[in-house]
Point group: C2
Chain length 435, copies 2
């Protein structure tokens, strides 16, 4: 009990609060800092040691976790006046669990050296899985660091993650963040795809519950769909569980890096512009599932479906097909980006398939894409039926004047991937992303 080390923690938001209180429940003394006083009270009530002083949170803490929302916040907490780094004891282990650009994680490592704190064992360790898994200590974690740092911090990473969900990514500091970034390609696209699916469904006259029942268990399934659709059906957006600004920040990391690395990111780019239009409407603090309001101001659960059973099945199939095609292209965009930045593809697969980026399409087609990018497959596996399907979806959407941002983006990706002779194979699809 008392032999367990004391842990410092900065950032008790939805994710951080769950992680920190999980550590408390596991018997650690956790000193938690946050700028929001009511959160500190809640943390105290949950058995944590609250502090409104960053230096207090770090003083004498051999292990420290930063879980703030952005790189800007991390920079200020770590290196600002009276910040964390200045107060950490010698040879402390420091985990940065926020989703940040890999270049930022690398800059932290460099700055530690520059300010004379090269003794700190620094781990770039972004997480995935949502607030519930954070509180259960069953997150997915993608950690990159020097070997000695991983050795120091591995026990703590294990405390926070499920046994099969701790991924040590080769490549040192930055590799964890890059892995999180390519995982978030899936997340960013699939968060919007669920709103697009519900919105399209609503315009087709389908009630939200029927859409959910059909999609879950179909090839249109994604972790995001199953997770967020509960909130969609209740209009639980205020604030819900995951603010639009969070996924907007993540997709911004993706598209910034894509520009820097000359990687085309067609669907993430579309998603980002649509998220920005949501922020323009004042929805930034609302749950990202609320993006469905771009398509319908009425709750999707309030729709009375008056279609015949046959029509309803036809239209539900269009919704599932929309999701299948978007998720196929999302898989290609994520895996090709991982290849582009030099990440181990099988590790991305293993990680994402069971994490918040998971989808039935990623599971099935991701497994076929990876050998192609590793030079072990011919890429002939045909995906032309997806092009046929998405054309029917877009025909229908156009006839009812329903915008499909991602669906039409996926249509263009597959059309561009179409080779001579009209075949669309996985190789052609992946080839679009490589130059």
């Amino acid at each position: 009990m008392s032999s367990k080390p004391t842990i410092g923690f900065c950032g008790l938001g939805a994710m951080g609060f769950g992680m920190a209180t999980h550590l408390v429940k596991s018997g650690y003394t956790v000193t938690g800092f946050d700028v929001w006083a009511p959160t500190l009270e809640k943390f105290a009530a949950a058995g944590g040691v609250p502090t409104s002083s960053l230096s207090e949170s770090a003083k004498d803490k051999a292990f420290y976790i930063v879980m703030v929302a952005t790189a800007q916040q991390a920079q200020s907490a770590l290196f600002g006046d009276q910040g964390i780094v200045a107060s950490l004891p010698k040879n402390a282990t420091l985990l940065l669990c926020s989703t940040v650009p890999s270049s930022y994680a690398q800059a932290v490592e460099r700055e530690l050296g520059d300010v004379g704190r090269g003794d700190v064992y620094f781990i770039d360790a972004p997480v995935s899985g949502g607030a519930i898994r954070a509180a259960d200590g069953t997150l997915s974690i993608m950690a990159g660091a020097k070997k000695e740092a991983i050795e120091k911090g591995q026990w703590l990473l294990e405390e926070l993650s499920a046994p099969s969900k701790l991924f040590i990514v080769d490549g040192g500091v930055g590799a964890g963040s890059n892995m999180k970034m390519v995982h978030q390609v899936l997340a960013a696209i699939q968060i919007l795809s669920l709103s697009e699916a519900f919105g399209f469904g609503a315009r087709l006259g389908l009630d939200g519950q029927s859409v959910r029942d059909k999609v879950v268990g179909s090839e249109g399934w994604s972790w995001m769909f199953e997770n967020r659709s509960v909130r969609t059906l209740k209009e639980d957006y205020f604030p819900g569980a995951s603010a639009l600004t969070i996924i907007l920040k993540d997709v911004g990391i993706i598209t910034s890096m894509a520009r820097l690395k000359n990687f085309p990111s067609p669907l993430c780019t579309i998603a980002e512009q649509v998220y920005l239009s949501g922020v323009d409407r004042g929805w930034g603090p609302n749950d990202d599932a609320g993006m469905v309001r771009l398509w319908t101001s009425d709750p999707v659960s309030s729709i009375q479906c008056t279609l015949s059973a046959e029509e309803k099945e036809q239209k539900l199939k269009l919704v599932v097909d929309l999701l299948r095609v978007i998720h196929l292209c999302a898989a290609a965009e994520s895996i090709a980006f991982a290849k582009h930045v030099g990440l181990p593809l099988p590790q991305l697969y293993e990680l994402a398939v069971e994490a918040a980026g998971g989808s039935t399409m990623f599971k099935t087609f991701g497994a076929k894409m990876i050998p192609v990018l590793e030079g072990k497959g011919d890429g002939e596996e045909a995906v032309g039926s997806f092009l046929d399907d998405v054309k029917k979806v877009v025909d229908e959407a156009q006839s009812i004047k329903c915008p499909l941002y991602l669906g039409t983006g996926a249509l263009n990706v597959l059309t561009m991937a179409r080779g001579k002779g009209g075949k669309v194979g996985i190789g052609g699809l992946l080839g679009l992303y490589s130059s």
Copy 2:
């Protein structure tokens, strides 16, 4: 005077009214039909012969012009009960000047035969140029028909068009509509690009007048920008001169045909989704220049620019660069589509460069693209500087959370066109569109 033939006319909207009254001024007796009574009164005041009977408008008229908004309206006016076709005299010449799918124009020719009116000389003759040029008889016209029909109708086409702006397109009925379609690729993209440019400018703190002054005369110029920006500065959208629903219909023709022909139309597709989102906001009947309201609810002319002269120049350059890059990709999308559907490229160039689809980029780079698609150029002409420029534009937009639908689309097009070794040439860009 009395030797001039009497002309029947259906559809006295903004364009049709101008065309019909121009014929009146030129000394023809024009019997005009419209469903909207006040328009008929106006037409009578302008010297026309108004009628609320379609069959009356067609009876004894050896020449007839249809200028309604959509294929649906044309179908009903032509072939409905008491419609035009049933009343036209033998061997009449019939011009369909509406923008319709080429497949619809071809269906009209077929149906004329099916209903026993193979004697009618039918010309597929969509126009471009706006209401002012319609009223001046200086439109651009793209006409496709059998040789005999052209011979019959050429004098009337000449009455409506400027001397250098009547284009007889090889390929018979449908070829005119296809030419209009690929011209509208430019129009559809450039109508949205001007709102995106003003919107981006507003978010950068630039006043609308400065944006207009800078763009007109720069490489970011387009006919649409110069034409629409007058309305943007006055918020003259209610109804303005060209309803959003009109360009939405046109872009729908483009993307439907693109799906049918397996042609990727990335920027038109984006434009269509954004126009649909405008319709969702209730802006369908408003002028298309009002799309700028997606970016700013304040009039762009009300912005007080507080930037230093140097900052202002920097930011104006970003706006011009945004337009340059979008218009470069628009030129590629239009010309590649023309090639894809088998149209003569030099004719498209000659036509569009002086019509509503014109832009400085189309003029400069269109001239370089056509030889490449005709197998006469190597396509090495570098456009990589455009990629560098648009990255800076998107960096800035992302930092101020400004959506750029077309700008980011163009970024992805150029990134995908980037060849091995990092070069972006015209050949690579055009190659994206061909399979």
